[in-house]
Symmetry: C2
Subunit: 119 residues, 2 copies
């Protein structure tokens, strides 16, 4: 059962753009999936599925980790040193903790954050 099914579907949705990331950190599906799983764990969220796609040599990864609490998605452009992440979590999970794990791994030169309330 979804933890969120026990609550009203209220949540926080964080949209975070990471600029100035080393391209070598953005091009490997397995590394990116492991990073999102680490991020979910740090947030206290529980994965229920995932899908990741690589666009080809020198290009990026697009992927999502589905959670009981909603999702974490990432889209990377190694050729621009850029990654777009969104973390949507309801219930008691802490989406900011997920973002902190991703930021620590990607070590971006700059970060743009936006937040929306959902539900």
């Amino acid at each position: 059962m979804s933890k969120c099914a026990l609550h009203l579907p209220r949540g926080r949705h964080l949209l975070v753009d990471f600029h100035g990331v080393a391209p070598g950190l953005l091009g490997d599906c397995d590394v990116i999936e492991a990073l999102l799983r680490d991020a979910a764990r740090a947030a206290g969220a529980t994965p229920v599925g995932g899908e990741f796609h690589h666009f080809g040599p020198g290009l990026g990864v697009t992927g999502v980790l589905l959670l009981k609490e909603s999702h974490i998605s990432i889209h990377t452009w190694p050729e621009h040193g850029f990654a777009a992440v969104d973390v949507f979590m309801c219930g008691a999970a802490q989406p900011g903790q997920a973002v902190a794990v991703i930021e620590a791994a990607l070590q971006p030169a700059s970060v743009t954050r936006q937040e929306a309330r959902r539900g």
Copy 2:
């Protein structure tokens, strides 16, 4: 190759909450996935993968369609007549067209829209 790899990773990210939806429209994984594929088509976007999860009888669906242009996600709570959708598209795709298809199918009593620029 990602269409977006040919461009700067700029895009629009629409966060849309649908309230007052008939619960019967929100509980079937196959129906929800077909709806998101229709929405992608309307937006001129190209799916590259998808993952959908059902939380059990009477509960909702969480799922995502990965696109060359980024993603469409949905999380539903039939027990609250509620669905949270986000549509993130870069390049020439039209995320508003995707939202329009989903809204036409779900016929919500009310809609809350938020939009962010990414990239």
